[in-house]
Subunit: 461 residues, 2 copies
């Protein structure tokens, strides 16, 4: 069976067998069948549990062999010792896709390693493929399907996640419950390259996210990401960088973490954007999903305080962007509002135009953003603002909406200086034209990643 | 007049003259008098504006000389050209503390530099001191006083902020509107050392925060922070690190940014904790205000997923903490709940004890935290958790409250893995015993700063 067909069974099965499904339901039971009902999954479901007649009204089967119809996917939930015989029953029933949720394999002791080899062998002999063991399996918001034990609220964002922990199925910081996900767990069989290739061709996926603890076959991985990265951005969080982290990775998913320098070089060569931590991952996911391409590295900065401009200049150097040299027409537009003693340059300090020259702040920010966005020497705009509840005059969301719509697409990000991450940021983002970040560094880092990606795909292969 | 007396006039004046106060009031007017009324300031207020009889019911004076009583503090808001004569009137009226809010001095052109020298000279000849120019002045939540044009909601936290931008008066990320603040602006006279010394002796201040664009007298600064840092933690955000940032600093507050390496060495020698950005500043402010001392670098980690433990191990290496070696009694307590095939070590993966061995998750987290907090080889605890609305069994706030209260004080931080920063974090922090951070790196970085500070103050001078 080709890769796309098998991966489709894992992510969008028409029917699923839940092998070793618990009879416990309700709060704290983490019952998979209950979750599928909750999601409104439209396929057929076959619980397998020899000790139950029915669970939540669904008829139970004593073994997989008894299931009367063909089944796309089996999910095995039994204690580890039973898994080899369950895999064997599945292959005999003709099931080609098997998720082994159970833990205690290469993540555990020598016996677990032996069991993992055994189930892999049984599956291959039976013409089946395995995701796992030690996995949450898959989630697919477009198909209302999930094998995760948690009750997820799914949101069909065009993200394809390939990870080694199911906790990521709930989303990333700032990105609520998304698209499609595959938790590879110990990755005894189905591995990163299979999934990258599949998401590369999946029209419902625009952005691929990797969480990697270790790779078995670096060359095959690099070939796959290289094929796909020019078509779709690939973001990678590689953990187990430290010695202690690598040791912990061996006992989490039995992964060999490998040299961090080799990963860096490989990602760079293949056009994969590496992120440093989970918060950066959330920031970049939002950036790549929402912002237009950044076609150069020249940033225009507008700030409510000069202090913000200094911080932005530092951040540009840190992340490899440049402060744009503004054109005379842009400078003139801003200077016309500003006090005569003020020398205008990028970063633009907007406050004197309002406080000293008396222009309403929303007019100042509109004029400044128009000047920056209209300047051919500017590839993206960062503005720093602050809103406090009792000063509505500092709320510039409406002004931003008005301006951002007028110009050809360039990324616009806001550093919202505030003691609380809040509804104000959410409101700013309603325009679907602006992203708000709680620090200058995070805003600039996101733009720098965009610039890097579009440089790489513009370069000849 | 000694430093404490003069600084008290700036921060807690019994009476204040507002020179050049605008007649405009209401939304968008940024009227200082209106703000003082809003705060409930208890001192006397004398507006000075030759074109008004009264503003908001307060009698106006044509000049400072006409004010009938002694005045602790004058705030000058006029256009820059009028400032020298206003300063002169103030000194003649016997006013010893003057805040010059007006812009267009060393932050602007040659004329501005000349004016700044002139007002400094006039003030000194008249025995007065200046904060500014180009400043928001001061804020003092304990005295219900502020010269900021924004309507602040004050919260009497024991923080003393010394900064070069008034936008920080609204707080830091995660720290809502606080304590006491001094915006030095161009710092023509009153400078960092004066303020550090004052906050060092101020019983209402437990933590000092610096935002520095440049220093005029590095030696005097270092002497001051060295005196104070052993008594109170000092956190410093130094901006203008890059060439472009240093250039921007010259036009914001006329500051010379100086070599970044020299700052690093000076901060280290003096015991000042340097932060990299504004978000780290907010994180560390919360950490130093809320967490008990960290007396070593050995971290115990408990995680809902093995992936979190790997990330925590990486973060420890990155920020200079160590994973604690757990004692046999601690290991035994955790092993008693876990599947037999599992080898327990730090970081502790809590999930198999719940999912495989069937213990309720709140019981697992309680047992694990008790084992870690009770272990003499553990100096602080990080736990990673996640809560999703539809899985109340994963909500462990109550369990945390129960455990954290039982043990002698060690810092406890939570990395809350979630797509949304939220009320759940706020609820976790209600215990006043736990701080929640949205990423592992930020939690570990905060602990590392605590460890560094307490190492420095424990070392012989």
């Amino acid at each position: 069976m080709d890769n796309a067909s098998i991966m489709r069974r894992f992510l969008a099965p028409r029917s699923v067998a839940l092998i070793g499904l618990s009879r416990a339901t309700g709060e704290g039971s983490f019952n998979l069948l209950e979750n599928l009902f909750h999601l409104g999954y439209g396929g057929r479901i076959y619980p397998v549990n020899p000790n139950a007649q029915e669970i939540l009204g669904a008829r139970c089967y004593a073994t997989a062999s008894e299931i009367p119809e063909a089944v796309d996917l089996a999910v095995i939930l039994t204690p580890r010792g039973l898994v080899p015989s369950m895999v064997s029953q599945c292959t005999k029933r003709g099931i080609k896709a098997i998720i082994v949720v159970s833990q205690g394999f290469a993540d555990a002791d020598e016996e677990g390693k032996r069991l993992q080899q055994e189930i892999t062998r049984i599956a291959h002999q039976g013409g089946a493929r395995i995701i796992g063991p030690n996995t949450f399996g898959t989630v697919n918001a477009f198909h209302r399907f999930s094998t995760a034990f948690m009750k997820l609220e799914l949101n069909p964002l065009p993200i394809g996640l390939i990870c080694q922990t199911g906790v990521m199925f709930i989303g990333f910081p700032g990105v609520r419950l998304f698209g499609k996900g595959i938790d590879l767990g110990n990755a005894c069989d189905i591995d990163f390259p299979d999934c990258v290739d599949y998401f590369g061709d999946d029209p419902e996926v625009r952005l691929i996210v990797l969480h990697i603890e270790g790779l078995r076959d670096g060359r095959r991985f690099l070939e796959a990401v290289k094929r796909v990265a020019r078509r779709k951005p690939i973001l990678a969080l590689k953990t187990g960088k430290s010695e202690a982290g690598a040791k912990a990775a061996r006992s989490h998913t039995g992964s060999l973490a490998g040299s961090d320098e080799i990963y860096n070089a490989g990602f760079k060569q293949a056009g994969v954007i590496r992120v440093g931590d989970i918060e950066e991952l959330g920031d970049l996911v939002r950036g790549f999903l929402r912002l237009p391409p950044m076609r150069g590295r020249r940033l225009g900065v507008a700030s409510i305080t000069g202090a913000g401009g200094i911080i932005a200049a530092d951040a540009c150097e840190r992340y490899g962007l440049q402060l744009a040299e503004l054109s005379p027409p842009a400078l003139d537009k801003i200077a016309a509002l500003s006090p005569p003693w003020m020398s205008i340059s990028n970063p633009v300090d907007m406050w004197p135009a309002s406080m000293i020259s008396g222009h309403p702040y929303d007019h100042v920010i509109k004029t400044t953003l128009e000047a920056l966005l209209g300047d051919e020497g500017v590839d993206a705009v960062l503005y720093m603002t602050t809103e406090i509840e009792r000063e509505p005059a500092l709320d510039v969301a409406e002004a931003i909406f008005e301006v951002a719509g007028k110009f050809p697409p360039k990324p616009v990000v806001c550093w919202r200086y505030s003691p609380h991450v809040s509804q104000a940021s959410a409101r700013l983002e309603q325009s679907r034209r602006v992203l708000a970040y709680p620090s200058c560094e995070r805003a600039v880092r996101t733009l720098a990643a965009l610039a890097t990606y579009y440089e790489r795909i513009a370069a000849p292969e």
